[in-house]
Subunit: 401 residues, 2 copies
């Protein structure tokens, strides 16, 4: 019996409500002896951690640094080595495109090309969304027999491209040269299968049409394609866990990941206060709430230790807004570490707490990496968190007689 | 996606250098309250451990006592339950025999037989290497149609036998009766497959020829065969990790294991000082250095607690010779425990530290089994160590978008 078969067999309804609060990239490395989380004043999280199950989680497997996709799939209980979700799919989901099995998606960057067709600016000066939308309108006029073409504005210079047709392949090279002063690359088939060669030809034909359409535009007179990915259905939260779930996330990619597993995506501004407020508004309508705070990761990637500490403190100040609604199970964790000193995602295990009336109390004195080594959960795998919160919420029946 | 596919996809070059220092059989059990490592004065390792990631590692799975082969394969990141390396292959590799796929290898013990052909001494009085070499010369004169026969002196009474031909099987019983006063056993086919029956017949024919060749020799007038094993290629360190690796090991078996995964084997005397000196000599030529110290295990098997403590202290005294070369990542660990009180390999988890600038500091006060329970790595699996050191060395890209 595989994992999902086991869960489907044991899942049972209950009134309990689960909140998964993800502080993206929360885990850190020490500066002057303390990590970002250890340096932050977090009286609410500290008190909660001492009364909760707590520990650390390895996001994927030891030593593997997760991107946002695999990091979140693991938190949602899906094996990221089995469910490989390409960036193009995440972009399409992020703009709420109703993607279907077999659709081919890619990330689009609008770019500025010079008179000779060489890339001058890979982000077209980060054009405003209105220009992006106007360019998408033009591209939608392109017709290629046998396929449907969809392009949707994401933000600034970014858009999502979706091709619908038959027998596509995703084994394709990207067209972004990753530098300026050279022309965009053609799409190349990365294997010799007929569907791959065919898909590459279609895309190059499409790109040639785009060049004609945009040639007199300024500054977005070209596009770069990345992250080609075929869409394959993955089982939903409702199917696997029997959960009616929602996501309150400020950023398109995380909304995309949530909708991929069948969560309702709640419209919200990005930010601790507006997201927590939105959470309170929808409280009671769902039995699972995924709350995603982005800025811990952003400040880590900036290498700004103090700013990351501030974001953590901001979350802690607003935490009572969640606690006063008395969720039956509240997990606070991260998809991966983003240490400010490392300025990037890393492989280090992430701080985790699971609060519920069935928690063994870990008695840790601080919600922080070092103290959590003494927590009740030890170092577990992120993929096991869903099982743990389901158990605490009474949503898993006994296995076997 | 399986583990090796994942690693191959993520591996990336970096200038960082990794040192894997293996103290064979390091883990122990307490005598008067402290293990060998805990009893040893190890100021250098203690200081390093406090500033490093640290913890314990389960060599294979809980409760499984590894031989040297599986123990090292796990340290090298190869699943020992998938890659089963027979003792015969290790012997052949240990004498640097250029083994090929499909070769059948076995360990040879020269033995003394009495007038009735019964075993008098299973090790022929540990004959000197010269006699061993002379006996091998004689055996090489044997011709059997359709196969090539190679025999190479290992040390004292030990040699490696390699048969080259077609369609061999390794499902064969050993000929060492494991006691004296009885004749060597014939080789028996352990299944009914034609290739197995055929291989057993060939070997019995070979053994009959050996008896004729050696009948007038003294004391080595017989041989015993053990550890029949077919050679199958396993992916190299270079293929899997992109690493240019070397081994500085004093004993043939560990050189054999290292060459099996494609490491360059550096010629060296056996001993802490000469091996560390050799390490310093080749420093800079590779990006991965496997340093294997044998005597911790030997003294554990002797049941000599104090002598094992002394070996550990000797390593600690010489550790600065490694530290002053400033390896980017230094892991100190073991392939298994060999508690002196137990006088054999055991299943107990092994002490481990990983030093790097990206380490979360564990703050442990002593490099020792009890204190390491509070380390940052918890109790991990040996097979995950390679991923961890690759991550710390910047040799693994992010997984997924």
């Amino acid at each position: 019996m595989d994992r999902f078969e086991l869960i489907k067999m044991l899942k049972q309804p209950s009134d309990e409500k689960i909140v998964l609060l993800v502080l993206d990239g929360l885990g850190g490395l020490p500066q002057n002896g303390k990590t970002e989380l250890e340096s932050a004043q977090t009286p609410n999280m500290d008190k909660l951690a001492s009364q909760s199950e707590s520990g650390l989680m390895t996001p994927i497997i030891t030593g593997i640094t997760p991107g946002s996709g695999p990091g979140h799939l693991a938190l949602f209980g899906y094996d990221p080595l089995e469910f490989l979700i390409g960036r193009g799919i995440l972009s399409a989901l992020g703009v709420k495109f109703p993607i279907r099995d077999g659709d081919l998606a890619a990330r689009v960057n609008f770019a500025t090309l010079d008179a000779k067709g060489k890339v001058n600016d890979r982000r077209a000066g980060r054009i405003p969304d209105e220009i992006n939308r106007a360019m998408c309108e033009k591209i939608r006029e392109i017709k290629i027999p046998g396929i449907e073409i969809f392009i949707e504005t994401e933000k600034e210079h970014r858009a999502a491209l979706i091709l619908r047709g038959e027998h596509f392949s995703e084994k394709l090279s990207e067209t972004d040269p990753q530098k300026t002063g050279v022309p965009p690359l053609p799409v190349k088939a990365l294997d010799n299968k007929p569907e791959t060669v065919h898909t590459a030809e279609l895309l190059n034909q499409f790109l040639s049409e785009v060049r004609k359409k945009l040639k007199d535009e300024k500054p977005a007179n070209g596009i770069l394609l990345r992250g080609f990915a075929l869409h394959q259905r993955i089982p939903s939260f409702s199917e696997v866990y029997g959960l009616h779930a929602c996501a309150i996330a400020g950023y398109p990619m995380y909304r995309g990941l949530a909708s991929l597993v069948g969560m309702d995506v709640i419209e919200t501004e990005s930010g601790v206060e507006p997201q927590f407020k939105k959470f309170a508004e929808v409280w009671g309508q769902y039995d699972f709430y995924f709350l995603h705070i982005k800025y811990t990761d952003s400040r880590g990637e900036d290498g700004d230790f103090k700013a990351k500490v501030k974001v953590i403190e901001e979350v802690d100040r607003h935490l009572p807004a969640i606690l006063k609604l008395k969720p039956d199970v509240l997990a606070i964790t991260a998809d991966h570490s983003t240490p400010s000193t490392y300025r990037a995602h890393s492989w280090h295990p992430v701080p985790t707490l699971v609060s519920s009336k069935w928690a063994r109390r870990s008695g840790v004195k601080k919600f922080g990496e070092t103290e959590l080594l003494r927590g009740t959960l030890g170092t577990m795998h992120s993929m096991d968190l869903m099982l743990l919160v389901l158990a605490h919420a009474g949503k898993l029946a006994k296995f076997g007689a």
